[in-house]
C-alpha cells in the first residue's frame, strides 16, 4: 500500500512540476494590430464570420501551447533524441523490436481496463487472450505471437473511455515532453497512470526499481517508435496542422 501512495504522490509532484514549467514559459506574442499597413489580401476582407474553418480548433491556451511546443522541440533535440539515438546505436534492431513488444505487452493492462470500462467485452476478451498468448508462447511478451495468429491489438485508453461516455475534448493542450493532447486525454493519461501504478503491473511487481526502469525504457521505446520530429514538416503552419490532425485522429479513435 505504501508503494501505491508513494507512486501517486510522485505523480502529483510531476504534475505540479509540469504546471510550473507552463507558468514560466508564458504567453505567445500576438501581432500588434495597431499602425499596421493593411496587406493586399487582409484577413478582414477575405474571411467570413459565418463560415466554419476546418483549421480552427478550440485552443484558448494557444500562446502557452505554442511555447510548450517549442520547449518540446528543444527537449527533444538536446535531451530526449540523443538518448533515443544512443539507444538505437547500441541496441540491435532485433533487440529493439523485442523491447517494443515487451513494453506493449505490459501496457495491455490499460487496453484491457479501458475496453472493459467501455463495455466492449469481446474486445476485452481479445486483449486478455493476447496477453496470455504473448506472455507464454511469446516468452514474457518479447514476441507478438498473437498478431501472427491474427489476434490484433485493441488499443483503448482512459481519454477514449471518457470520450466514449460523451466527455468533450476540452481545450487543446500541448503537454511538455508528451506533446499534443487535450484536457480530456491529459486527464485520461493521469487516470491510466494511477491505475497502472495502483492496481496494475506496477502493483503486481511491487518493486520501485523495476517500475522506474520500465517507465524509462517504455518512454525511450515509445519515442524511438514515433517518427515525428518537431518543425520538420517545413510548413510555417505546422502548429495548426498538428492540432487539426491530432483532433481529427482522436475523433476517429473514439468512434472506433
Amino acid at each position: 500500500m505504501s508503494t501505491m501512495i508513494k507512486n501517486i504522490s510522485r505523480l502529483l509532484v510531476h504534475v505540479m512540476l509540469l504546471g510550473t514549467v507552463l507558468m514560466v514559459v508564458g504567453c505567445a506574442s500576438q501581432p500588434d494590430s495597431k499602425n499596421l499597413q493593411p496587406p493586399k489580401h487582409p484577413a478582414q476582407q477575405v474571411l467570413k464570420d459565418d463560415v466554419t474553418y476546418a483549421i480552427d480548433v478550440y485552443d484558448p491556451l494557444e500562446g502557452l501551447n505554442r511555447n510548450v511546443y517549442m520547449f518540446n522541440y528543444y527537449f527533444d533535440e538536446y535531451f530526449f533524441l540523443p538518448i533515443v539515438h544512443a539507444y538505437e546505436f547500441i541496441t540491435p534492431d532485433y533487440v529493439e523490436e523485442r523491447i517494443s513488444y515487451f513494453v506493449d505487452n505490459v501496457l495491455e493492462f490499460g487496453n484491457f481496463t479501458n475496453n472493459l470500462l467501455q463495455l466492449k467485452f469481446k474486445r476485452s476478451g481479445i486483449v486478455l487472450e493476447r496477453f496470455v498468448i504473448n506472455s507464454t508462447v511469446g516468452v514474457a511478451g518479447f514476441w507478438d505471437r498473437a498478431s501472427e495468429f491474427g489476434i490484433h491489438k485493441q488499443p483503448e485508453d482512459f481519454g477514449q473511455t471518457l470520450g466514449f461516455y460523451g466527455v468533450g475534448d476540452g481545450p487543446y493542450l500541448v503537454l511538455p515532453v508528451l506533446g499534443p493532447s487535450n484536457l480530456r486525454n491529459a486527464s485520461g493519461f493521469i487516470a491510466d497512470s494511477v491505475l497502472f501504478n495502483a492496481v496494475g503491473p506496477a502493483r503486481w511487481v511491487d518493486d520501485e526499481a523495476s517500475s522506474l526502469i520500465f517507465t524509462g525504457v517504455s518512454a525511450v521505446d515509445k519515442r524511438h517508435r514515433i517518427p515525428f520530429r518537431y518543425y520538420r514538416s517545413g510548413s510555417p503552419f505546422e502548429y495548426e496542422l498538428v492540432r487539426q490532425l491530432y483532433t481529427k485522429k482522436q475523433e476517429m479513435e473514439i468512434a472506433k
Binding site: 501581432p31 499597413q37 493586399k40 463560415v51 490484433h152 517545413g234 510548413s235 510555417p236 468512434a255 472506433k256
Partner: protein
Amino acid sequence: MVRRLLIVVGVCAWLVAAPLSSGYAYDYPFANRYIATVLGTPEEFAAKLPDSVPVQQDALVMFPQRQVPDVLWNLAELRYSYVLQEHEAPLMFLIAGTGASYRSAKMRLMQKVFYQQGYSVVSLTSPTHPNFIVAASCSGVPGVLGDDARDLYRVMDKIRNRLAQKAHFSRYYITGYSLGAAQAAFVAKLDEQEHKFDFSRVLMINPPVNLYNSVQILDAMLDDNIPGGLDNFNQFYTEVTDAFTKVYKNGDNVEFNDKFLYTAYKYYRAADVNIDRVKAVIGLDFRMSSGNMAFVSDVLTHAGYVVPVNAELGRNAHVTEYAKVLFRLTFLDYFNDILVPYFQQQKPEITVADLIANTSLKHIDSYLRNSDKLGMIGNEDDFILRPGEIDYLKQVFGERATIFPHGGHCGNMGYPDNVAAMVNFFKAADKE
C-alpha cells in the same frame, strides 16, 4: 525437359523484348489518372527495393549574413540527405517536386533506386519548399526557372565539395520529378556555361512544359471540386474524414500509415470512389504547398501580400488567420502579387510575358532538342499538361522520351517498368 527449357527461354525473351515493341501491355494498376496520382504505386505492385539504405542527414547555411525573420526561425538551415557508396561511383542529384522536401516518399523511392544501382545519391528539397526559400533562395521568390536553377546549382556545388572529403565521384547525374524535372534541365543548361559538374546524363520525370499553365490547372482542381465552393470546405473535409473513419472503424486491423489510402480505396471499391473528391484532394495538397511558399516569400521579402509589411511576427506568433487567407489564394495570385512585382522592381524593363516565358521549358527549347544527354519519362494522361503539351515533349525529345500510357502525375514512379526506365537511362552512360 528441353521443351520446358524452351518455354522458359521464350518467356524470358518475351519479357526482354516486350517493352521495346509498341503494343506491349503496361499493367500499372490504376487506370484513372487522378486515383493513380493520389495512391501512387502500392507495395504489392511496386518494384522491389531495399527496406532501408544508409542515409545521412545534414544541413547547411547558404547566406550566413541573412537575417531570418523570427517566425521562420526553424527554417534557417537547409536540410538535405545523402547516401554514399564505399567505392568510387557516380554521384546522382535528385530534385523534389513542388513543395516537397528531400525526404518525401518519391525522393526516398528514387534514393533507393539509384543507390541500389551503385550510385551515391544527394537528395535536395524543392526550391518552392519553405526550407529552401529561407535558407537557399537568393531572391526569396521561387518560380522563375533560371533563378531557381542558379540557387540549386550553388547548393549542389557546396554539398559536392563537402562530400568530396568522404567519397570519390566518377561522374555526375541529375534527375527530378514534376517541377524538379524542369529545374534539373535548367541546372544542366547552366552547367553548360559553368562546367562545375559536366553532367553525363539528365533525366526529367513527369515535367510540366509550362509552370504557369500547370499551376492554373492545379489551382482550379481545389476551387472547382468542393461542392458549393471553398466556403463549404469544412463540410467537404468532414465528409472525407467521416468516410475514412468508417474504414478505420470497420476495416480489419486498419492502421494510419502510408498504406491507409490504398486500404480505404479497396474498402470502398473503385466504382464507388467519387473522382471529384479525389481531384479536390490533389488540389488541396497543391494549395497547401503554394500557401506555405507564398507565406514564406511574403514574410522574407516584405511583399505585403497577406502579412502587413511592417508586422513583426515573433517565433510563436498567432498565424492561423494568414493560413486561412492563403487557403483562398492561388499560385497565380502569388505570381501576380509577389513574383511579378519583385522581378519588375529588380529589372523595370521586364514584362509579365517575359516572366511567364521564364517558367517554361520552351525557354530552353533548342538545348532540350539538341543535347543528347537529356531524356524524359512521362505519362500520356498527365493532367498537369495542357492539351498538346505531351505532344510537344514527344517532339522535342523524340527517341529520348519514354511515355507510358497511364499513371497520372507521377503516380507510377514506383512501378517496375518505370523504375527500369529510370535505371536504364543512366546505365547507358555508366559505360561511356
